[in-house]
Amino acid sequence: MNDNMVIDRLRDALEARTEHVEGRADSLDLLLLDPHRRPRRHAAPASAVLAAAAAAAVVGVLLLATALRGPSSDTQPSRQPGFGSTYNITAGTTDRYPAADFFVTRQVVKLTRSTFTDRPVIARTSDLKVVRTLPLSLMGARLTTDGSRVFGFYMGSAGGEGTANSGSTDERVRKLVSRDTAAHAVYYDFTTGDIVDLGRAAFPGITGMTVTPNGGTVAFASIATGGGDHTTIRIVDVATGQGRNIAVPRPHQVMALALSPDGKRLAFTETESGNILFLADLSQPNPAATATAVVPPSPCRKAAYDYPTWTDQGLFAARECEPNQRGMVSDVVRLDPQTLQPAGPSLARLPDGGVLTLVVLQTPTGLAFGYAPARTPGRLGDQRDQRVVFRENELWLIKAGASAGHRTGLVWGT
C-alpha cells in the first residue's frame, strides 16, 4: 500500500462515516436565543478556570546561549537579569487589551488593566511605567534601533467594525482605517507624532514585514487571492516613499522576510512547498529572476528553513531537519549570505514543534537567540504576530494578538 492508497482509504472511511451527519437544525436558534449562557462544559470551579486561563496565556521567551553562562554574572548581576538564564514572560490575553495583564515572572511584575486605557502602549515592566503611547494598534511591529519609530501594519475596516482600530477615538486613526479594507504598512514617529503610510497590500492583507535597523527600507509581503494566490513583495524606501514590487518566483505564501542591515538584499521563506529560503539581490533590476533558493542540505531527509533574521552579525535562520524517521531537530544556523549554505555548526537548539519568532541578540558576552516556542498553550491568535526585539541591551516583547483585538503592546523586559 503506498501513501496515496492509505490517504484514499482514510478519506473514503471518513466520508462514509460523516456522510449522513446533519447536526441539529435548531442549533442556531438555541444559540441566538441565549447567547450568553455559560457553555455547559465550563462549569468548573472558579479557581480551576482561573488556573486554566493563566496556563493558557503563557508565552515563553527563552534566551539560549551557552556562552552566556559564566563570568558575565559577576560584572553586572543585577542590571541584566535576563541573560544567561531562562527568561519567562507570561502574558494574560483574555481581555480586549492583550497588553493589559503582563506578568513577568522573574520580577513578579503585574500590569493591571487600569494601566492601559484604550491605547496600545510601550511599557517598561520593571517599574510598570508606560514609556510611550501609540495612537494605533499595529501588527508585525518593529522598532528602529534608536527607538524613534515603530513600523507595522494594520487592517483597514472601511468604516466597519471588527479591527482593533475601528473603535479608536483618534480622528486621524479613524480616517486612516476607514479609507479601505486593505492592510497598510505604516510607521509611527514618536517625535513628530506622524503616522506615515508606506503602501497598501494587495487584498486581503500583509503576511509578513521586515524593516532595516535604521528604518530606512521596508519590505512587506502580501497575497492577492484569486487567479491562483500570488505573492508580491513590496520594497519601500522610507525616506522617499518610492516603492517597487518583486514578484515571488513561485506563487507561494511568504511569511518570513529579512532585509540585510544595508537594505541591499532580502531573504525570505515561502511556506507552501517546503519552506524554501530565497535570497534576492535588490540591486538587480529584476531581483526575483536572480534570486537564489535553497533547501537545507543533507543529512536532512526532510527539512525547512524559517525565520530568516539578518543583523550586523550575519544572516541566521531556524532550520527544521528530519535526519531520520525518529523525529525532527530544529536549530539555529548562520548562513553564508552569498550561497545560503550553513556557515559553521548549529548554534542553538530549538524546541520540537518549531518557533514563532526568532531574534539574534548581541549580548555583552556573545550571541544569544531569543524565540517564542510554537507549542505554547495559548489561545487562537494570541501567539500570532509576536516579535522579540533586542535594542541596546534590552529585551522587548512586541505583541499584537490577532483575535483579541490585536492591540500592539511593547513590553520592555529587562
Partner: protein, 177 residues
C-alpha cells in the same frame, strides 16, 4: 462572495446576522469535521455549538470574517481534543475502546474495511489524527493547519508523513489478520 465577505462592506450587519451567515455556510461541514475527530455525533454537535457560542461572545474582538472563520475552526478542533481528553480520563481507558461500544446507529453506515480504517485512525496519537483529518478529509492547507494547531508548517508536514506511515502499518496488520 458569501455572507461572510459581505460583512466588511456592510457594517450595519449585526453579530447575529453575521453568525447566521457563518452558521448557514459552515455548520454542517464543521459537525462532519467534529464527527471525524471525535467519532460521536452527540459530542460533535456539542463541540460545534460551543464553538459558535464562543464566536458570538467574542465577536467584537474578531478582526474580520476571516478571523471569525479561523477562530471557529480552531475552536472546533480544540473542542474535539478536550472532549477526547475528558472522555479518556473519565473512562480511564483508551479512546479506541469506545469505538467498539459505539451504537449500532453510528457504525452501521460504514463497511468492514472502512470500520477498520476508522479504528486505526482513532488509535493514532491525537496530533497525528488531527493533522490527517484536517489535511486529507477537511482539506485544510498546511498553512491553515499550522495556524489552527499552533505548530509550524514543517511540523504539519512531518506529522502528516508519520501519521500516514503509522496508519499504513496499522492497516497492513489488520488487513492481514
Amino acid at each position: 462572495m458569501g455572507p461572510l465577505t459581505a460583512r466588511s462592506a456592510r457594517p450595519s450587519l449585526t453579530a447575529a446576522d453575521a453568525i447566521a451567515g457563518l452558521h448557514a455556510q459552515h455548520y454542517r461541514s464543521l459537525v462532519r469535521l467534529a464527527v471525524a475527530l471525535v467519532d460521536q455525533e452527540a459530542s460533535a454537535e456539542e463541540v460545534v455549538q460551543e464553538a459558535f457560542e464562543r464566536v458570538l461572545r467574542r465577536w467584537h474582538r474578531l478582526r474580520d470574517s476571516q478571523a471569525a472563520e479561523a477562530y471557529l475552526r480552531t475552536a472546533v478542533v480544540n473542542g474535539c481534543r478536550d472532549r477526547l481528553r475528558r472522555r479518556a480520563v473519565r473512562r480511564a481507558a483508551p479512546v479506541t475502546h469506545l469505538r467498539a461500544a459505539g451504537s449500532a446507529e453510528e457504525t452501521a453506515i460504514v463497511n468492514d474495511e472502512q470500520r477498520r480504517t476508522l479504528e486505526a485512525l482513532h488509535v493514532l496519537p491525537t496530533r497525528q489524527r488531527e493533522v490527517l483529518v484536517l489535511r486529507y478529509f477537511a482539506q485544510w492547507s498546511e498553512a491553515e493547519i499550522a495556524d489552527g494547531l499552533g505548530i509550524s508548517v514543517g511540523t504539519v508536514k512531518s506529522t502528516a508523513h508519520r501519521g500516514v506511515a503509522a496508519l499504513r502499518a496499522a492497516l497492513t496488520e489488520t488487513d492481514e489478520a
